[in-house]
Each structure stands twice: as structure tokens, then as C-alpha cells.
Amino acid sequence: MRDPVFFDLTELRSFVHPHAMNQRALLTVAGRDRPGIVARTTQVLFETGCNIADSSMTQLGGAFTVMLVLHLPPALSCAALAARLQPLVDAMRLTVHVHPLEGDMAANSSANRAQKATLSLLGADQPGIVFRTTQLLAEMGCNITDLYTRVLGSAERPVYSMVIEVESSDSSELPPELHPRLAQLEKQLNVEINLRIADSSLM
């Protein structure tokens, strides 16, 4: 149920013209992990009439981090949304930021034809693993769409694990030099790198 307080006339217009809901914002929330962060954040979004487009919410160490792309209703500014989140920020000691986003999401149209691959890396922890791997990908003109890392193993012998979702920068294939270049890096860093080209088959 929506809170009737928020049914003012300007907002009602968004029901007549649903496409009027086009202002986008990036909302980030972080804080010490505890039950209820997601539920209480999304409750505010629901009550204020925000639509959640893309989202990433994950536990990192002892913190919980939330990143959301929102479609705001016309009557709601980023500042007003931040104000609505303030009680939650105080109660759960969260860090919240609402940032307006320019443009629309149409830039994704070529992404569907891009060749995609998953790169996984495993090896002894050492400085520069993320930097050197992502630098190589940047040199090869590959886009990173997702990256996540975790330190595994014991405190004495930490093992670094990284998974990167990669795609070609346009509708072409990933560069053929990518495999040999990664093999070189594998030797230099003394880690295992595995590149799995995503099969684009449909079934």
C-alpha cells in the first residue's frame, strides 16, 4: 500500500503518463551489515514511488553495500529522496548518497551483440593483481561489466580470487591476442587465469 500523503496532484500525473517517470538517480547505501538494510531501504523506495532498475547489493567484509539505479517519479527530487531516507540513515547508521544520472539507458543496444567472456583468476595474494589484470583488459579495448574479488584461504597463506565479466567494446569479437596476453600475465603474476568465452547459443 502506498502512503496516501504522497498522492499529490503532480505525482498523480505520472499514472496518466507513465513515461513521465524518467529522471534517473544512482542511490548508494553502505553500513555495518545487519538484518533489514535492504528491506527498510526498499520500503522507502516503494513508498515514494521509485522504480528500481538495475541493482547490486552485496556483503563486503562486515559491511553491506547497495547500489541502485532508480527511476524517480516526477514529483520527487534527489534531495527529497535523500531526506526521506534520513530517518533510516540515523537509525541504522548508514551512509547514503543520491546522485542524479544523465541520459537514458539506450546505450545498451550494441551490448547484446558484444562477445562476452568470464575471466577467473586464482593465486597467492600480492599487490597489483586487480590493477595489472584490468590494465591489460583496458589496453585490449575490452569492457568490464562486472568484477568481484575475495580473499580465500588461511591468514598465513591468503589466496586471491577474482572473477571479471568481460565483453568486446563493440559488436565485434574479443581480440584474439587476449588469450596469449593473459597467458603472459599468468606467468608474471604466478597465478592461474582462465578465460571462458560465453556461448551465445539459444536453447
Binding site: 562476452k116 586464482l122 575475495r150 580470487s161 572473477v163 556461448d199 547459443s201 539459444l202 536453447m203
Partner: protein
Amino acid sequence: MAILEILTYPEPRLRAQAEPVDRFDRPELQQRVDDLLQTMAALPACVGVAAPQVGYPYRLLVIQCQNSRKPPLEHPGLLVVGNPEILSWSGTEVGREGCLSLPDYTGNVLRAQTIQVAFQDRDGQPRQLTLQGFAARVMQHEIDHLNGTLFTDRIVSRKTDLFPRKQRQ
């Protein structure tokens, strides 16, 4: 012969349990097999279609791994599969899947690496095959369609990718 329309989610027929094929000598069934084959051939990079995906509620599917953009070195060729039963599973493997019925969406799914499957061919003759890797994955995906299951029901956490794990048993 006809190229059939693929049903897409949230079409409720994709969630139904399909009926066994009782007779293979009916012209209507043979016509449906031809339609499935023609539909699969007409769609780019389509490696398999299950009958429920075209609104035909029977335990029937077609597979052709050769249609993949990078076909596996070994695969069983063109298969017409009626009333499939998986007899045994071994090993597991995570791989990315895309489904005709869930356009523009792919996800990582855990499947058995090797399966032994019994089925009837388009003449109703009993057959048995051992499938590995990609062919085993496609067969498991298509059999899921006969049971109203979509790959999104089997998506694995992306965090499982971070843990070193043997790919084969």
C-alpha cells in the same frame, strides 16, 4: 512444414508438465517434428527447441549442437528426442545458458557434466546415449522445458564462481 512462434515468459504454458508421446506413427506428430526442426534451423545459434516452447504440450524435443557459433568438437549431431529419461548423472559444471523463451538474458547454471539418457527416436525406436559437456547441458535444459522448469530456476550464485572447486567428479 512451418516455422513456429516461440513462446516467451511469462506464458503459462512454459510452466506446464508435458504429456508423454504415446504413438510416433501419427502424421500429426511427424508434422510437429518437422516443424520443430525447421524452427530450430531458422533461428540463429539455436541448438535446441522443446515442444512446449512452441505450445505443443508433449515430451518431445530437438537438438543440434552444430548450430552453436562455436560448435563443440564432439557432439551427437541432429537428435529428435521423444520421452527422454536421464538414467545417470556424473560430474558437475557451471556454464552460461541462454533460452529462446527468456530473450536477452543469460545466467550461470550448474548442470551434470555427463549424462546417460534413454529416449525414443522419431520412429519410436528406443535409443540410449551418453552425452558430455555442452551436449549434456543442452539436453538437460530441454528436458527441463518438458517439466515446466526454466534455467532461471537453477541459477547459481555468482559468488560460487569465486570458490575453487573440481569441475569433474
